[in-house]
């Protein structure tokens, strides 16, 4: 129960709950109301951005499981997104499989390939692992660019409009309908990831991250944990990739470059390493920066035309600045800032 001195539990059952206080339920209800009302309040353009954010949330959650919870740094995000996208696009377009099935297979395939590229993690740590995963990024991108049968020699795959059991996304309501689909999937993903971290497997991940030798000593199977972490994380990322393919309706390698891997790392750094909620905040923050900058530049174009002219440069600068500021001021990201705000209010007028 929540008091002015903090949150206290009177039973194990209470402690194990996902949410502890009434305020948390209230915020959840507000958030749900906000999310459910978005399509009625936003225009097509902003809803499109909301959809990109929802997909990014899935990818960021996946990456955070690996980097934040298991402590295995990965620069291979873009590559794994590509695996998911190309697998699902090819299975549904050329294999003729129903989309949900092809997405499910894409998730499994990405998990498998993720586990394969995770094998070096058994021997490598830190920077060395980062370079190994960088190799996986480059290898996967090389493959999707060079194996022309993947794209029938065209260099890209076209994906037809999403159709699930006879129901097809309509042109007029494209963003709205996709929003509901993505919101449902993203909600499930966030819930699944949140709960995964409360299981024995999730705790094993964290033990590996905090001190792998100690973890091994208390009986955590390091090999299995690390490979599973790669597989689970890549599975989520593969889902994000597959959804990207069906949502954007074109799969090209240009969408899965190293920039994307770095962008996702930025999301979890800004949001909060080792926090599912942080992945969500980070994805929203990083995806909104360029859009909001565009808006600001447009508003100020009469006063300062240089803003519009140099927009991409400014975007890069702000992106870099945001990461530096977060690393300096709050390395644990937006999630930690939010916790501090809540604590401040809860303990007021005391300091702690």
């Amino acid at each position: 129960m929540a008091t002015a001195t903090g949150i206290h539990h009177r039973s194990y059952r209470a402690e194990l709950r996902l949410r502890h206080t009434r305020a948390e339920y209230l915020r959840l209800a507000l958030m749900a109301a906000l999310l459910l009302s978005l399509p009625y309040n936003l225009g097509v353009y902003w809803l499109g951005i909301a959809n990109s954010i929802l997909i990014a949330v899935i990818g960021a959650v996946g990456l955070n499981i690996l980097v934040g919870y298991t402590g295995q740094i990965s620069l291979g995000q873009g590559g794994f997104l590509a695996v998911g996208a190309y697998t699902s696009a090819n299975l549904s377009e050329r294999g003729g499989l129903p989309v949900p099935l092809s997405i499910a297979i894409a998730v499994l395939v990405t998990a498998l390939i993720g586990a394969l590229f995770g094998l070096p993690a058994l021997r490598l740590k830190g920077l060395y692992l980062a370079i190994a995963t960088l190799a996986s990024q480059e290898i996967i991108l090389f493959v999707v660019r060079r194996w022309s049968w993947l794209t029938e020699g065209k260099g890209f795959v076209e994906v037809s409009r999403l159709e699930v059991f006879g129901w097809q996304v309509s042109r007029e309501m494209f963003e709205v309908q996709w929003y509901w689909v993505l919101l449902a999937i993203t909600t499930l993903v966030v819930l699944a990831a949140r709960n995964l971290m409360r299981t024995a497997l999730g705790r094993a991940f964290m033990a590996v991250r905090d001190q792998d030798i100690a973890a091994a000593a208390i009986g955590v199977n390091l090999t299995r944990s690390k490979v599973t972490a790669f597989a689970v994380s890549s599975g989520f990322v593969g889902l994000a990739g597959a959804l990207t393919a069906h949502y954007t309706e074109t799969v090209t390698w240009e969408r899965f470059t190293l920039d994307v891997s770095v962008l996702y790392l930025a999301m979890i750094i800004v949001g909060g390493i080792g926090s599912i909620a942080g992945s969500v905040y980070g994805a929203v923050f990083i995806m909104l920066i360029p859009t909001l900058l565009t808006e600001i530049a447009e508003r100020l174009t009469a006063v300062a035309p240089v803003l519009t002219e140099q927009l991409p440069a400014i975007k890069n600068a702000v992106f870099g600045l945001a990461i530096i500021v977060f690393l300096l001021v709050e390395p644990r990201g937006l999630d930690r800032i939010w916790t501090r705000v809540k604590d401040y209010v809860r303990y007021w007028p005391f300091r702690y």
Partner: protein
């Protein structure tokens, strides 16, 4: 029912409600295919690369488009409608291009001007669904087929056609058996004409050896040249932008190799000559569907006059400026016809107008001089000029060469 199952049930029913809502959701109506009121502006969305990987040629192209719009608006617009150009830099990043595209659609654009191969491909199905005519500086073969790309219009000869013209010229120039090396950018843009080139050699029975090499991102191209040398290549066709092509020219000079470069359109410009230097560029062949200032074509006079009034000149801005200008001109001609045909101006009516309008005379600047689309082909032109670098000047050796 215990607590767990009850909660699961609640969750499932909530999800069911969400999915059910999706069938009837309402607020965000479609913004696609916006129409123009009687004297309202004509909104055109422009996706430009000013600072990205191809910004060196993308900037004059975009300036050319904006200059055309500026000049036509100064004359009162198209049939009394001013063009409102929404032009933004996407830095050659496909996701940014998609974001910009969505923005233009929601702001009621009736036509889109794109730029690269990546964004043209990514937006191809979207413009077809949203029924918005789309032109870009990507001349890939697939974009010319209305069955596959109903709303894409290609004003210049495709990369494949340029490749065919290049091979024909080489076969004639060599006068016998010759080896050809194709150096291409490592991307869909680079590989676009390679397979068609190989096919052309076999089909036409040209007495040419043909081998393609992706260009590495190394500071010099000596390694690639030594591969070409061991192939015995006398001709090097380059499908890449100017700076790497100029590097090849410099390396050929430095290595004292007996090779002739044949550039397809993205390295056929004044920038190639400037970067390579007059000595290294001398004698190389440039296949350019757009006439440079040095060719003195009638169609470029208006462009030059406009620039002179602004204190510049076409020779100064380079041929990509004219390329942007004339591409926008073709779109404007389509819009003019659509307005003349009556009804509201939509992407659909512009498409119909572009397909049915008489050939646009570009005054000898683009391809064979005339650009014509039909309902069964969006290939605006098949001809291209062939130029040779002589003392740092692009000198026309053949105009309107067709495969």
């Amino acid at each position: 029912m215990n607590r767990k199952t009850r909660r699961a049930l609640a969750l499932t029913s909530a999800l069911a409600a969400i999915i059910a809502l999706s069938a009837c959701g309402g607020g965000a109506a479609s913004g696609g295919g916006g129409s123009t009121a009687d004297s309202g502006p004509i909104k055109i969305g422009i996706i430009a690369d000013l600072t990205g990987a191809t910004g060196d040629v993308g900037t004059p192209y975009n300036e050319g488009m904006m200059a055309y719009i500026d000049s036509i608006n100064a004359k009162g617009g198209i049939k009394g409608h001013k063009i409102e150009a929404m032009s933004n830099d996407y830095a050659y990043k496909v996701p940014t291009a998609e974001e910009l595209y969505k923005k233009y659609v929601s702001q009621g654009a009736v036509a889109i001007q794109g730029w690269g191969t990546g964004d043209s491909e990514a937006l191809r199905t979207k413009v077809a669904n949203d029924k918005l005519p789309f032109m870009s500086a990507s001349y890939a073969e697939v974009l010319t087929d209305p069955a596959q790309s109903p709303y894409n219009f290609v004003v210049a000869p495709t990369y494949s056609d340029q490749m065919r013209v290049a091979l024909n010229w080489i076969a004639k120039d060599a006068g016998g058996k010759a080896e050809v090396a194709v150096f291409h950018h490592d991307s869909p843009f680079g590989t676009a004409p390679v397979a068609d080139g190989q096919k052309w050699v076999t089909e036409k029975g040209l007495n040419l050896g043909f081998k393609a090499y992706p260009m590495p991102k190394t500071p010099n191209q000596v390694g690639l040249l030594s591969q070409a040398k061991s192939q015995g290549a006398k001709y090097i066709i380059i499908q890449n932008v100017s700076s790497p092509a100029a590097q090849v020219a410099k390396d050929i000079l430095a290595q004292k190799l007996d090779m002739k470069i044949v550039c397809l359109n993205w390295c056929s410009d004044e920038l190639f000559i400037k970067t390579a230097g007059n000595e290294a560029a001398e004698g190389h062949i440039l296949i350019s569907p757009f006439a440079p200032a040095s060719a003195n074509k009638d169609g470029n006079k208006a462009v030059d006059d406009y620039l002179k009034s602004k204190g510049s000149s076409l020779a100064n801005k380079g041929l990509h400026f004219a390329q942007g200008w004339h591409t926008m001109d073709v779109m404007a001609k389509g819009i003019e016809k659509a307005l003349g045909d009556g009804g509201t101006l939509t992407g659909q009516s512009i498409k119909a107008a572009l397909e049915s309008m008489p050939a646009v005379d570009t005054g000898g600047v683009v391809g064979t001089g005339k650009i014509k689309f039909g309902t069964d082909s969006h290939r605006g032109s098949t001809g291209t000029g062939i130029y040779q670098v002589k003392a740092g000047i692009m000198t026309e050796i053949q105009a309107g060469a067709t495969p």
